[in-house]
């Protein structure tokens, strides 16, 4: 009994150590260079292919129930002929102070030791709270059980579970790729190297606009890019502390020198 109490006391003490809650094994971070992104949506299809996202059809799309974990938002400014069009890929921002995580009553979504905001499909009871709390509208719900007409199901990625009706899902930063890279590194008895992990979107990007890596590694590409003066984060004023960093697009101020 005293041993048990000591253990509890020890645990409580460790909780009080400074940085206990913020200390992570990794802090996976994505950097997206909006000056490179040309909106081609290759990443969107890559995400569908990698993560077994179902195709829901026109009627469900009309109800805004498409499954794209990653979407390219497009904003238009001005009128003809001074039209400015801007793209931004938006996926789960893996916020360090995620609004969704406080909402879930059953811890189906929580923050793991890799700095990822993870979703446990099996634990989800479908209260929708995470999705309504999400300030980036990146959560997708399984409104039905979706079917793949034969033999399309042969394409499904065995590393990613096919979700059932009634659970919430979202971008995972391709956690299966992170896992497999970590496993490989472990097999080779070395730490995970920068560049070992490329989520599907980053891998497919024709312009190379999406970077991925560990922010805790000061030598990583993302850590260096994160220092860019063009850096900003989406809706930063909401203080969700997202792990996706955008680099501002370079764009004329609309008054072309030629007019």
């Amino acid at each position: 009994m005293p041993g048990f109490l000591e253990r509890i006391a020890g645990k409580l003490k460790s909780y009080r150590e400074p940085g206990y809650y913020t200390k992570l094994d990794h802090k996976w971070t994505m950097v997206i260079d909006l000056d490179k992104c040309n909106g081609c949506e290759a990443c969107v299809v890559a995400c569908y292919a990698e993560n077994n996202l179902p195709v829901v059809g026109k009627e469900q799309c009309e109800k805004s129930r498409a499954f794209s974990w990653l979407r390219i938002e497009r904003y238009v400014e001005g009128e003809y002929p001074d039209v400015k069009v801007k793209f931004i890929p938006v996926m789960c921002q893996h916020c360090m102070k995620a609004p969704c995580e406080t909402g879930c009553p059953v811890y189906a979504t929580y923050h793991n030791q890799d700095g990822l905001n993870v979703q446990v499909y099996n634990r989800c009871v479908g209260t929708f709270t995470c999705a309504t709390y999400c300030t980036y509208d990146v959560r997708r719900f399984n409104w039905f059980t979706y079917k793949w007409p034969k033999p399309l199901e042969a394409q499904l990625n065995p590393d990613v579970s096919v979700r059932e009706m009634g659970v919430m899902e979202k971008c995972t930063f391709c956690i299966q790729r992170i896992r497999s890279a970590k496993d490989t590194a472990k097999d080779e008895a070395r730490p995970v190297k920068d560049g070992d992990i490329k989520p599907a979107c980053s891998q497919s990007c024709p312009t190379g606009a999406i970077y991925f890596g560990d922010m805790q590694d000061p030598e990583s590409v993302v850590a260096k890019l994160a220092k860019s003066p063009r850096r900003y984060r989406l809706l930063e004023e909401l203080n969700a502390d997202p792990s996706v960093i955008y680099l501002k697009r370079v764009m004329g101020d609309g008054t072309s020198s030629h007019e």
Binding site: C40, A46, A49, V55, A66, K86, F87, V250, G252
Partner: protein, 747 residues
């Protein structure tokens, strides 16, 4: 799925993939044997992915791919990071090739027509019967001495399969082997042939250019080699050097235009004149580098004349000219807004001249001409047009037509009366794997593998100013009872016999391909470097996805001879302006391209990047124009040209000239599987049947239309809620000058 079934499936896939890779016997139907997993095939470990290098064949760019295979199933197609064309990236269309492989609407067996032509009623037959029927038809043709009446129409194939098909046709005694596709880029090839002596698209070094003047080249979505150019674009914007600038000249702001620093919405059909006026201004201002041959011709194209014709101010033309000439290196590319007209060759030549005058040809960051590095001797036969085929069919000069890959029924205008011509062809065979509109006219269908099940090779055109030879290998066993395209030709040759069988005497296409590469290997000594003979080279090439050598710099001069083909007038549009007030711009949509992507569910559900519309066709209309016509977003309208009428819902698009409407190509299929069939409208239907007389390339921007309110029909579904950012700082920007300052501070 039960566990037992699951293991069984693994076994089946394993046999298929193993056999496909090791033996090349890809025609063995799956499930012939179940091997217990005590001794699994070498390359199959449950739960561990195997990656095969191959080439994407969904468009002509020839991007290298790595296909992830697990338990004998293709899971994902990714860009091959080592491949010089795409360097790891892959577009939406290419990544969907797994959905083509596992498409539920594939033709699963050889078919024989049951109902009337075009009805799509077929009966399943065996391969023996199918080959016998087609061979019988060909033998009969031969015995009647009508060999010349065999026509083979294929998509623009490349590499060894193209040679095999050509050999088959010529050994049979026919000279009628033609290629057809909506975007063959023959205008560019022809312009380069007349200007620089090679009938190929050069390598545009977007990566290193500092000023990219694009005449409607939508390289972010589908134009020529999108992944290669996009990769270059990324580096041009945020690479090691100074940030390059992109200026887009086009009547409708394309996906690429959306990323441009400046958009110049010149009047449709006049862009070539704008290019010449810019060139002339460069000459007049004494900024030209090499204009000796062109001074005279260019003097006819004054900026101030062009200004009113093109609807671009003189100041802007002059500013563009100065910037284009002064920024080093600069690059002009001839995209759809100069080359998709009836005088597309002329437009492409105009852009060549502009590059020549500014001194951009043969330099890093400019136009880098491609040559026949590997000695393939491939030539584009500009004389073979779809119009020649149609008139031959009408004249009864085609007795047997074999179609593969091309879908001219969908991609030619109704005005071409292709279906009528096809009805005069007594026997049509298709090797297509999908029931497309043309295949639906076939009397017999011998379904070929998709490229993930088949052997092949590819020599990318446009090249990347370096020798590249890529290999396609079967990554999985055949999903259905289909055959390798090459094997169909080889087995057909055997069945026909005679000199055809004598000429093509390989046991199967895999061997034929290997032999062909042996020739390549012996011709090109540099391939031997670092290899222990051909077998070693072959294995390495299979592993890497091909072979590629170091960059070869070539230069060329646009010869004055090209001036013969300069039209000097704006391109003509059919239809009187009074009756048909709007220019129609049909354009290749990012996902569907020329319609080939419409049967892939991922692409149907992929929001169009500019409009966010899914699962349908739309008409892009300037909001002001729509207001004057009393149209709201989503209203159904009829788009009427002198040649026909289609209807589609309105999308209000501020990025389009008020006198222009644009409709994406790709939907409006009457066949082509459950995802494509009966959805949207096909704008090609209402075009006039026009080809560039020199190159034979289809002229897409060639008619005016009128817009009338239509009956209610298909609803438009778009994914966007609002296009307005409302000052929320979602996509933040910095101005170029601010960016320059930032860069200095960092350094």
């Amino acid at each position: 799925m039960k566990r037992r079934d699951f293991l069984k499936f693994i076994g089946i896939g394993g046999v298929g993939a193993g056999a496909g890779f090791v033996l090349g016997k890809v025609s063995k139907p799956p499930g012939a044997k179940l091997i217990p997993y005590l001794i699994p095939p070498e390359d199959i470990v449950p739960g561990v992915a195997t990656w095969y290098a191959s080439v994407c064949t969904l468009c002509g760019a020839g991007c290298g791919t790595l296909v992830r295979v697990m338990e004998g199933r293709a899971k994902k197609v990714e860009g091959n990071p080592g491949h010089p064309v795409n360097r790891g990236g892959l577009c939406a269309l290419g990544q969907s090739s797994v959905q083509a492989l596992y498409n539920p609407d594939r033709i699963t067996k050889p078919l024989k027509r049951k109902g009337p032509r075009g009805s799509g009623e077929y009966a399943e037959i065996t391969w023996d019967e199918a080959l016998k029927t087609l061979a019988g038809n060909l033998t009969e043709l031969k015995s009647k001495n009508e060999s010349e009446k065999l026509h083979l129409l294929a998509s623009p194939l490349g590499g060894t399969i193209d040679r095999l098909a050509g050999e088959f046709v010529s050994a049979f005694g026919s000279s009628n082997y033609s290629h057809y596709g909506l975007f063959q880029r023959k205008n560019l090839a022809f312009a380069n042939l007349s200007a620089m002596g090679t009938a190929s698209v050069p390598h545009y070094d977007i990566e290193n250019t500092k000023y990219l003047l694009s005449f409607g080249a939508d390289f972010a979505s589908t134009w020529v080699s999108p992944v290669n150019y996009s990769n270059g674009y990324g580096k041009m914007r945020q690479g090691a050097g100074e940030r390059g600038k992109l200026v887009q000249v086009e009547p409708r702001l394309s996906l690429t235009g959306a990323s441009a620093d400046e958009w110049v919405p010149a009047k449709p059909g006049t862009e070539a004149l704008l290019a010449l006026a810019i060139a002339n201004t460069i000459v007049e201002k004494g900024l030209a580098r090499d204009a000796s041959a062109w001074r005279g011709v260019l003097s006819r194209y004054k900026a101030k004349d062009a200004a009113s014709v093109c609807d671009v101010s003189v100041e802007r033309i002059e500013a563009m000219a100065v910037e284009f000439a002064r920024t080093r290196p600069s690059l002009a590319i001839a995209g759809d807004s100069v080359s998709s007209y009836e005088n597309g060759v002329s437009g492409a030549i105009a852009v060549n001249i502009l590059n020549q005058v500014a001194g951009n040809i043969g330099i890093i960051g400019g136009v880098m001409p491609n040559g026949d590095d590997l000695g393939n001797g491939k030539k584009i036969d500009f004389g073979r047009k779809i119009s020649t085929l149609i008139s031959a069919a009408n004249a009864g000069k085609i007795k047997t037509l074999i179609v593969y890959g091309a879908n001219p029924v969908f991609t030619t205008p109704k005005a071409a009366r292709l279906e009528e011509a096809l009805s005069k062809v007594p026997f049509i065979a298709s090797f297509s794997s999908f029931m497309d509109e043309t295949t639906a006219h076939a009397d017999i269908i011998l379904p070929a593998h998709t490229s993930l099940e088949d052997w092949g090779d590819d020599f990318p055109d446009p090249g990347v100013a370096a020798p590249v030879a890529s290999l396609i290998q079967p990554v999985v066993g055949p999903v259905f009872d289909t055959k390798s395209l090459g094997d169909i030709f080889i087995e057909l040759a055997k069945a026909v016999g005679g000199n055809v069988a004598g000429k093509i005497n390989a046991p199967n296409f895999a061997e034929y391909l290997k032999a062909s590469w042996k020739g390549l290997y012996s011709r090109n000594r540099e391939m031997a470097a670092g290899t222990l003979g051909f077998e070693d080279f072959w294995n390495k090439a299979l592993q890497r996805g091909g072979w590629w050598g170091p960059s070869r710099k070539r230069t060329a001069t646009v010869s004055a001879r090209a001036g013969e083909h300069l039209a000097g007038t704006p391109a003509r549009f059919e239809g009187e302006e009074a009756q048909y007030p709007f220019y129609l711009i049909p354009y290749a949509q990012t996902a569907y391209m020329d319609g080939r992507g419409a049967n892939l569910p991922w692409l149907q559900e992929l929001p169009d990047p500019m409009t966010s519309v899914v699962w349908g066709t739309w008409v892009e209309i300037n909001p002001k124009t729509a207001a004057s016509l009393g149209l709201k977003e989503g209203d159904m309208v009829n788009i009427e040209s002198p040649f026909g009428k289609i209807s589609a819902p309105v999308y209000l698009y501020p990025g389009i000239r008020p006198d222009t409407v644009a409709v994406p190509i790709g939907q409006g299929h009457s066949h082509y599987g459950r995802y494509a069939k009966g959805r949207g409208a096909n704008p090609i239907e209402i075009l006039p049947f026009k080809e560039d007389p020199l190159s034979g390339e289809a002229a897409l921007n060639s008619t005016r239309v009128r817009i009338t309110r239509g009956a209610t029909g298909e609803r438009m579904v778009k994914m966007e809620g609002s296009t307005k950012e409302l000052g929320r700082g979602i996509v933040q920007t910095v101005s170029p000058s601010e960016f320059k300052r930032m860069k200095k501070e960092v350094v």
